[in-house]
Amino acid sequence: MTMLADRPLPEITPLTEPFWAAARERRLVMQRCDDCKAYRFPPEVGCYACSSMNSAWEPVSGRATLYTWTAAYPPLLPYFAERAPWPIAVVQLDEGPRLTTNIVDVPYEEYVFGMALQADFQQLDDEVALVVFRRAD
C-alpha cells in the first residue's frame, strides 16, 4: 500500500461515513432519496429533486463512462505539482450520478468521451480509500 500523506484527504462526517466505509471494503454505494429515488451525490441532508430528508445507501454497479476531463499544470498543490501534468476525470455512473475521479490505467492521450470504465479503489490510509476508475474489460 502506498501512503500519500501530503495529498488532501476527505473530511469524513456522519453524513458521508457510509460512502467511505463502503469504499474501505471496496464497494461503491450511493445515497438515494427514499421518496423520489433520486441519487444524491455528493451526499446531502435534503433532496434536490423533492425536498425529502429521507434517504438510504444503496450499492451501485461501478460501471461508468468518461464524461469530461482535464490535465492540471502548475501552479498546483505540492503533491500534484510534483506529478504534473495531473489528469482529472469526471465519470458518469450507469445509474446517473457523476463523480470526480482519477483514471488509473489509461494514458491521458487515450481519453475519449464515453469510454467505458469500472470503479476500483485506492487505499490511502486506514481510513480513506479513494474511488478511482480503470478501463472496463
Binding site: P8, A72, L76, V90, T100, V128
Partner: protein, 390 residues
C-alpha cells in the same frame, strides 16, 4: 419577478465611481485601498462621507472580507442603516449593487457604497490554503487533484467543446479581442496586442485552457456610489440609472464544480439572472448597446453571450470568431476596458465601472451613442446582473 419591477426599474442610479491603479503589488492593505476608492467615488459624485448610510460588499468562500464596521468607523459615518455581504466571489460582481438598489428603492437607506478591494497579485491564491482534510462537496473533489477554479472550469469547457463543436481558437479569440480593447486603455495591466496563435502557444494551465485564456492576478480596488434617481439628478455627474438588477442561482448548485453534478451542466446561473434582469428593466437583448461580462477564463464570455440571449446555446464560438463582440465594428462590443483578461482582476467590479463609463461617454473604447449597458457577473457560480441606462 413581477411586482418588484415597478419598485426598482430606474428608481436608483450610480452617482460616483472610484478605482485604484491596477498593479501586481499595490503596497497597501485592502482596507486602505477600500477607503481610498470610496473617498474617490464620493468626490466623483459630489457627496460627503457623512452622506453614506449603507455599505454592501463582496464575500468569497475561504477568504476574510473587510467588515462594514471597519469601513464605517474609518469613514466617520454617523450611522449605518443597511449593510451586508454578497457571497460567491465573481458571482457577486453586481450583487452588492443589487442589494444597494433594494435598500434605496425601498427607502431604507439614501446613499450606498458598494466596493471590492482585492490584493490577488501580491496575495495568496485561495486554493493554496487547502488543508490536509477537505469538507463539503470538495471532500469528493480535492483528493483527486481538483482544487483550483481553472481546473474546475476546464472540465466544463471540455464538455462544452464536445457537445457544441466549439474550438480552442474560439476561446482564444475572446482574449485577443479584449486585449485589443485594453490596448487603448491606460489603466489596463496588459496592453500589447496578441493573436490567437499567441494564446494557443502560451503554456497549458488546465487542458484545454492556456495561460492567456486565464484572468490576470492583480491588486486593486473599486467603489460605486448608489443613490435615488431623484437625488442623482442633482449631483455632480450625469446619472447612470439602474433599470434592471437581479441575482440568480438556479437549481442544485455548488460552487464552480457544481455544474458537473447537474443533469445538464449548461443549465447555468446566468440564464436565471438574465430572465429577471430583462424583466426588471422591461428590455431584451436587442436593447443592449454594450456588455461587460465576467471573464475570469475566456469560455465564460461565451456562456454569458448565450445565457443573456445574444445567440443560441452552442453558437457563441462562431459569434466571437466573426468579430461580433469587437469594438468598434461588432454589433455587441464586450469588455471594452479589456476585462479581467487584460485590464485587471477586481472580481468584476471594474466591469461595472466600465459600464458606467460607456454611458457617461468616457470609455477608451466608446460605443457611439451607447444608451444601455449590460453588466453580468460570473457564469458558473451563483450570479448577478445589472442593466444600466443613461
Amino acid at each position: 419577478m413581477s411586482d418588484g419591477n415597478a419598485l426598482i426599474r430606474d428608481k436608483t442610479a450610480i452617482a460616483g465611481i472610484g478605482t485604484t491603479e491596477y498593479v501586481r503589488d499595490i503596497g497597501r492593505t485592502e482596507q486602505e485601498t477600500s477607503l481610498e476608492v470610496i473617498h474617490e467615488a464620493l468626490a466623483d459624485a459630489g457627496l460627503a462621507a457623512t452622506d453614506v448610510d449603507a455599505i454592501f460588499k463582496v464575500e468569497t468562500p475561504g477568504e476574510a472580507s473587510i467588515s462594514e464596521l471597519a469601513v464605517a468607523r474609518n469613514l466617520g459615518l454617523p450611522n449605518l442603516r443597511a449593510w451586508g455581504g454578497t457571497d460567491y466571489g465573481g458571482g457577486a460582481a453586481c450583487g452588492p449593487i443589487v442589494h444597494a438598489v433594494m435598500a434605496i428603492a425601498t427607502g431604507m437607506a439614501s446613499v450606498a457604497v458598494a466596493f471590492r478591494a482585492r490584493n490577488r497579485g501580491s496575495g495568496t491564491r485561495p486554493w493554496s490554503k487547502t488543508g490536509a482534510r477537505v469538507g463539503s462537496n470538495m471532500a469528493f473533489e480535492s483528493p483527486y487533484g481538483l482544487v483550483g477554479p481553472v481546473q474546475q472550469l476546464a472540465l466544463v469547457a471540455r464538455r462544452y467543446m464536445h457537445e457544441f463543436g466549439v474550438t480552442s481558437e474560439q476561446f482564444a479569440q475572446v482574449s485577443v479581442t479584449q486585449r485589443a480593447h485594453a490596448a487603448r486603455n491606460p489603466r489596463a495591466f496588459f496592453r500589447d496586442p496578441i493573436t490567437v496563435e499567441d494564446v494557443l502557444a502560451s503554456r497549458m494551465i488546465a487542458d484545454p485552457l492556456h495561460l492567456l485564456d486565464c484572468s490576470l492576478e492583480t491588486d486593486g480596488a473599486c467603489a460605486i456610489i448608489i443613490t435615488s434617481a431623484e437625488r442623482a439628478r442633482d449631483l455632480k455627474q450625469m446619472p447612470v440609472f439602474i433599470s434592471g438588477a437581479s441575482q440568480g442561482m438556479g437549481p442544485r448548485h455548488y460552487m464552480m464544480n457544481g455544474l458537473m453534478y447537474k443533469d445538464d451542466p449548461f443549465d447555468m446561473p446566468p440564464a436565471y439572472a438574465a430572465k429577471d434582469v430583462y424583466a426588471c428593466a422591461g428590455m431584451g437583448p436587442g436593447d443592449i448597446d454594450v456588455a461587460q461580462f465576467y471573464d475570469v477564463f475566456s469560455p465564460m464570455v461565451l456562456w454569458q453571450l448565450e445565457a443573456y440571449g445574444f445567440c443560441k446555446p452552442g453558437e457563441a464560438g462562431p459569434f466571437v470568431e466573426e468579430g461580433r463582440i469587437d469594438w468598434p465594428a461588432g454589433e455587441l462590443p464586450v469588455n471594452t476596458h479589456g476585462g479581467s483578461l487584460s485590464e485587471a482582476y477586481v472580481h468584476g467590479f471594474n466591469h461595472v465601472l466600465e459600464g458606467v463609463r460607456q454611458l457617461r461617454g468616457t470609455s477608451t473604447c466608446q460605443v457611439e451613442n451607447a444608451e444601455v449597458a449590460l453588466v453580468a457577473a460570473a457564469a458558473v457560480v451563483p450570479t448577478s446582473a445589472l442593466i444600466l441606462r443613461r
